[in-house]
């Protein structure tokens, strides 16, 4: 239970079309991440699935049933909002119990489920507090608790971690992944953070201006991005994209090389450049190299203990097996 299908779904706000006709299949139990730049329509798409937004045309199908005209409360989905959207007038306990109470569940059963959820989310000490008395991370746990107690067909997350600090974000990311492995429920997760997308997803949907650019597993997108947009969006640091003379040598309009597929040497190599800023992370060093064939400095992922003088002359060599070629429309092709 929990397969979701979008059939020729479109959405316009007034005269502006935010989602052009879009098709998407989400399998039962999958962890799907919608990723894309701000304003590309990720939230809108999620809200269309939730029913919080009406489709302009097309169908939303959950478990084989057309739910396009069904109200959100009857779709059996749970959602976690970026702003948490807890009920400020209710205690944590009442917040978590709310969907169960609304479904008319037996109070004893409600207590049991709330206890189970709050234990698994480490919320036992806060059950009698109001949301206003909690930290952001705790609020997010309550929001997740409210979503999991009622065994929904699927979970919808809209940038649930973007209001948390970096350390907490990594922790919660793991917890949500763990939750997914244990429950096996379909999850749709919206983020603009490609690291979150790569680390959590079974399937990533890359969106731009409401269009799906590519759908695939994290490694598929990493290894064979279908166009320059996806190539530049997935992977961190970003893929180096070069066009012009440097690309022509490789029979392409544009070529892409990931920072980890460039080797650096001070003796010889294919491209001669000048060292700019080096960022030392300990495990890796990101070296920015100015090269005539590229308008932007190229990023190289090098050894953690590499020390290079600012302004020194270096040579870069791309790994030919890992080189991406794109035509004049930005589409990837193989030789």
């Amino acid at each position: 239970m929990g397969s979701i299908k979008l059939k020729n779904v479109t959405k316009s706000f007034g005269d502006t079309e935010v989602i052009p006709p879009l098709n998407l299949d989400i399998e039962e139990g999958e962890f799907v991440v919608f990723v894309g730049p701000s304003g590309c329509g990720k939230s809108t798409l999620l809200r269309l699935i939730a029913g919080l937004e009406n489709t302009t045309s097309g169908e939303v199908i959950i478990d084989g049933e057309d739910v396009t005209e069904v109200t959100p409360s009857k779709r059996g989905l749970a959602m976690v909002f970026q702003t948490y959207a807890l009920y400020p007038h209710m205690t944590v306990r009442k917040n978590i119990a709310f969907p169960l109470r609304m479904s008319g569940m037996d109070p004893a059963e409600i207590d049991k489920r709330v206890a189970a959820a709050s234990t698994s989310l480490n919320l036992n000490d806060y059950l009698d507090r109001k949301p206003g008395q909690l930290s952001g991370g705790q609020r997010q746990r309550v929001a997740i608790g409210r979503a999991i107690v009622r065994d929904p067909l699927a979970f919808l997350f809209d940038e649930p971690l973007s209001n948390l600090d970096a350390a907490l974000r990594v922790g919660m990311r793991l917890e949500i992944s763990e939750m997914h492995k244990q429950m096996g429920t379909t999850m749709i997760y919206v983020t603009h953070d490609q690291v979150e997308a790569m680390t959590m997803a079974d399937k990533i949907v890359v969106l731009q201006s409401g269009r799906i650019e590519q759908v695939g597993s994290p490694l598929e997108l990493y290894n064979s991005p279908c166009n320059t947009f996806v190539a530049g969006f997935i992977g961190s640091p970003k893929m180096n994209l070069l066009s012009g003379k440097a690309a022509e040598k490789y029979n392409a309009h544009t070529i892409g090389v990931r920072p980890e597929h460039l080797s650096i040497s001070d003796v010889k190599g294919d491209w001669e450049g000048v060292v700019g800023v080096s960022e030392h992370l300990g495990s890796d060093t990101f070296v920015h190299v100015h090269f005539d064939g590229s308008s932007e400095p190229l990023t190289v992922r090098a050894d953690g203990d590499l020390e290079l003088e600012y302004g020194a002359k270096v040579y870069l060599t791309p790994d030919l097996k890992k080189l991406h070629r794109f035509d004049e429309n930005g589409r990837a092709f193989k030789l």
Binding site: G51, L52, P72, A78, F81, L86, Y87, P99, M102, R150
Partner: protein
């Protein structure tokens, strides 16, 4: 620095003084009224007896014994309470729909509702009297007074509620939808508890407006449904000689509302400033 200190000393003296003057100017007629209600009609018209008179309760006992004060007061309470309740029963769902599910027409509808307040009441006096008396046969009934009071106040009620509901984040209502709540549940479980302060302020103000309403209550009632406004109106003797009596009636009419307002000051301030004061 010196200038700042200078200014703050100035405002320390100026603003409280202004506030006191305003308060005294506003309060004085009421003070006068209450004072006069304890004088005999003869004393009341003589200015030299402003403070020098023998206080009497004669006006009040007269009012209760001969003018049926309690019946008028009862009518005022019943009509104001029910008009307030009905205005909220209509206004809450209405404001809810406009705040959380607006369409292109919402702004216009809100303006249109407010524009009904621009219609001079006198312009519809004749049709209102004629239709209710000769056509519907509900002239001088509490039902009519309740309906009229409710309708007269509905635009304000909806505007106030709308502005309170607008302060509630949309996501909270959406979370409710996702949690399986229907529209009535959203109103009952989420909206009303969250906007409780605003709804209470609105109810209080509406009640006061209903209580004080005089134009329609005086003109659409004679005896059965007459409210305290009618009682005051009825004691406004053309000879103008019964100031003591009139003052007692007026004091007894505004008394309950002043007491109510006193106890609910905080809510009232919030209500009158449309939630601008946190």
């Amino acid at each position: 620095m010196a200038i700042v200190a200078e200014q703050s000393r100035f405002s320390r003296i100026f603003w409280p003084t202004l506030a006191w003057i305003t308060a005294i100017v506003v309060f004085f007629p009421i003070f006068w009224l209450v004072f006069t209600s304890f004088k005999t009609d003869a004393d009341a018209v003589k200015p030299e007896f402003l403070f020098k008179f023998t206080p009497t309760l004669e006006n009040y006992s007269n009012m209760v014994d001969n003018y049926d004060y309690w019946r008028f007061a009862g009518n005022s309470i019943i009509t104001s309470v029910f008009a307030t309740i009905f205005a909220l029963v209509v206004g809450v769902p209405c404001a809810y729909a406009m705040a959380f599910d607006p369409t292109r027409a919402t702004k216009d509808v809100l303006m249109w509702m407010l524009s009904t307040k621009m219609l001079p009441a006198a312009a519809v006096l004749y049709p209102m009297t004629f239709l209710t008396k000769n056509f519907l046969g509900i002239y001088d009934t509490k039902f009519l007074v309740i309906v009229v009071l409710m309708l007269v106040n509905l635009p304000i009620v909806i505007w106030m509620l709308f502005s309170y509901f607008k302060e509630i984040p949309k996501e909270i209502i959406e979370a409710g939808k996702m949690d399986g709540v229907d529209t009535w549940g959203e109103i009952k479980e989420i909206l009303i508890p969250l906007a409780w302060g605003g709804i209470a302020s609105t109810a209080l103000l509406t009640f006061i407006f209903c209580w004080n309403e005089a134009y329609w209550t005086v003109r659409l009632t004679t005896t059965d449904a007459a409210t305290l406004s009618s009682l005051i109106e009825g004691n406004r003797a053309p000879e103008g000689l019964f100031f003591g009596r009139l003052s007692a009636v007026s004091t007894a009419a505004i008394g309950p509302i002043v007491v109510l307002g006193w106890f609910c000051q905080k809510q009232l301030v919030r209500g009158l400033t449309f939630g601008a004061v946190k």
